[in-house]
Amino acid sequence: MSLSRRNFVIATSVAAGGSMVLSACSSGGGGGTAGGGSAGGATKYSAVTIGTKDDSTGPAPEISGATKGGTIHALGPDDFSHLDPQRIYFAWNSTVGNLYIRCLTGYRIASGGSMKLVGDLATDTGTMSDGGKTWTFTLKDGLKWEDGSDLTVEDVRHGIERGFASFTTEGATYLQSALTGTNDFRSVYKGPYGGKHLDSVVTDAAKKTITFHLRTARPDLNFTLAMHTYGAVPVKHDTKEKYDKDPVSCGPYRIKQHSVDKSLTLVRNTHWDPSTDAIRNAYPDSFTFEFGLEALQVTDRLIADSGNDQYAVMAYSGVPAERIQKVVGTPDLKSRTINGLLTGLYYYAINCRRITDVKVRQALNHAWPLEQIRRIYGGPSAGDYATTLLSPDIAGRVKYDVYGKLKKPQGDPEKAKALLKEAGKLGQKIVYTYPQGGSDAYDKTKVVIADALKKAGFEPVIKPVDSGSYYDQVQQVDNKFDVMWFGWAPDWPTGYTILQPLFDGTTIANGSNNVSQLNVGWVNSAIKKDATITDPAEADTAWASLDRQIMEKEAPVIPETYQRRFYLYGTKVGGAEFDPLFSAFILYKLYAKS
């Protein structure tokens, strides 16, 4: 179904550097105990809420002390892979997408990282009717494209219809599936270029409304529509495939110059009216991106803090292992960092088709050595222990710890052994697999995992798989693995985007993200039922209780960590905030100090 894995995969590959070693102690000197808390970042969890019409009305609240003008420089290793909104799925592309793409809804992020879903192009977060099958949005007044022409409901519809075109396969597919009722939506509708419109999307130019008639109820469609894949595109200026090179802006900045893999410059879009935008501030006159710089190089430049680098931030790749000790340990540098947790959860999927006994799966949960694993990743500064399926930023998430992992993060071999004995499976063989080649942290964690399994009375078998074909192999239905390293990042912060793709037994197939292959009647029907609850608060509670029930009664996975990343910025950069959604700087909140 939902392919958030793409979203996730990029997160993993970039995170690999950060997760590998967040080190301590200078050369030769003692490491000291370096009190974990001081090294780790502040843990701030805040769930997303839904804003009102007032919240959706611009302008965005001013940031105190912010000044207009100047240029913010962003330094990063790679150019953005796509600029066409319909081809954006990776969080990394979205960090820049925020500056020129606008969708019907969006997230207003308060200082400190708490998120509120508000209307962006729309006046509010939409009106749902017919039990979640019909959604209506009204456009704000005064919306303009960068050439001064009006942004109309036709442009919003055009952006959504482009998601069906043959060249936009990189984007998300939730809305397309919901509109057509099939995952093979391109066979139903081929995009707007044949002159045909989707019957299920109705626009009213006079009233400025756009209405979606869905085949399946989607009470959280307003979250779906905040994805950049569903951003508006002007009908008049659509250049199809070439739009990826030079997209038209309706946000505060427009693309002025782009040389692939070298640099990207965005300048102020004079036709953007701040009073229409409740989300974005726009203090600097321009943004420049410099590509092709390794994370270590960027960090050293920002530490040196000279010339234009005083106005620079790290674009997406965080402080690497080699410098984290220096950055976190030097107060002056520490004060120039932001850090936060990556969205999503890293976990170990237990193959329920092979490990059919729940007691054995529970024993695995008890036995797993979370503390040792996290120490290899770099301790508290690398992330927080996970005990739930829903990550902390998911709406309505309730924290629980059914396997006592927070009290005994090093694992509880006695309890695991007792459970195993009870099940009569002492000496059970456990085939553990992980991707080899991406990050050698996993080559280390396998050692402590094997040790812990042995201690708990299992017989560990370690079978690494080349990272290039890892996902393909563990997503085979008839694979021969018992425990598989895995991770998942949700596309929007509700329980549906985690529990449905990961635990809905009806999705099991080769390539499915239900890697645990959990196929239990009560879980399947609960997912089906919860997905149609129209009241958001009620739905959140339902997902949270399902989260706990799945872990308690089925234990299909072993949650590992919510991982953390550190970013550094120059002395003359103000307004630095960690984007809880895309795990980078919130560019539109930055300002250049004079």
Binding site: S27, G30, G31, D443
Partner: protein, 343 residues
Amino acid sequence: MTSPMSSAAAPLQVTVAPGAVTPAPDAPPQGGAGRSPGQLARLRFRRDRTGVVSAWVVLFFFVAGVAAPLIAKLYGKDPYTTYGQNQPGLLNDFGFPVKPNGGIGGDFWFGVEPQLGRDVFTLLLYGIRNSLLIATVTTLLVTALGIVVGITAGYLGGRVDNLVGRVIDVLLAFPSTLFFIAFWPVLISMFVSPEDNTPTWLIVVSLIAVMTAFGWAPMARLLRGEVLALREREFVEAAKVTGASPARIIFRELLPNLWTPILIQATLALPMYVTTEAALAFLGVGLQDPTPDWGVMIQRGSQVYQDDITYMLFPGLSMVIFVIAFNLLGDSVRDALDPRIRR
């Protein structure tokens, strides 16, 4: 590497020159008639102080490797237990040793490994043991195979030489590392059930086999060239005329003249195989944690040296000492065998 080599070579010349040049012409009249070339070589080697010291160093490494289990037993630790993970107070939250200098102390002579927290001393001993085992066996096999194929091709010439020459061409052009990365997992999956651990002996045997299969070609090509030059020389002609068999010509006439290139090639190959094996391990084929390996330790050290230089120091320094000693030993042995070549 170049600077220690050349500076080490300078005093060598000084010691060799007075030691070997003066007695060499005097030796036959002094000792009368009774000394064989082997005895002479041994005599010359014993007078070469650098060579003797290098020999002791190399011997020390081999003894340490062979006796590793014994030493570990006396020392009371093993290279598999993750002490730092099991005992609180050894590693900090970042996974680095709490004590200065990589956690060196009475309990852990060479410190504690970052992250996994194993004992560096026993890890290094077992690493040396495993690496030297693999490298030595590979070198012996490569040398033996190279000698047989090279000399045969060179001596027989004609069709055989052509055929062997093409095989060598292919092998030299073959991207062996890529091949190994691609086919090693397939090979292992053919022998091992997907639900069993890969036995370490299988990894070792397959490593040796593949490194030998791709490693003999340079040696063979070199020897073939030498033999081509030698087989036209008068002493070979003379042997042929007296009716010596090809085997006798190869082993009694040609081989003694080839020991110099063989020794040089072999002494270069052994340290090279230690590093090749480490590189393969890094690429996910070959020895894997928790099996200790010298090269893997150095690789690990290069990743953490900014925070824990001590961990880099022990495997790195011991590897440098070993490689230099082995190369110097090779030089000295060559000098002793072939006193005509002077540097």
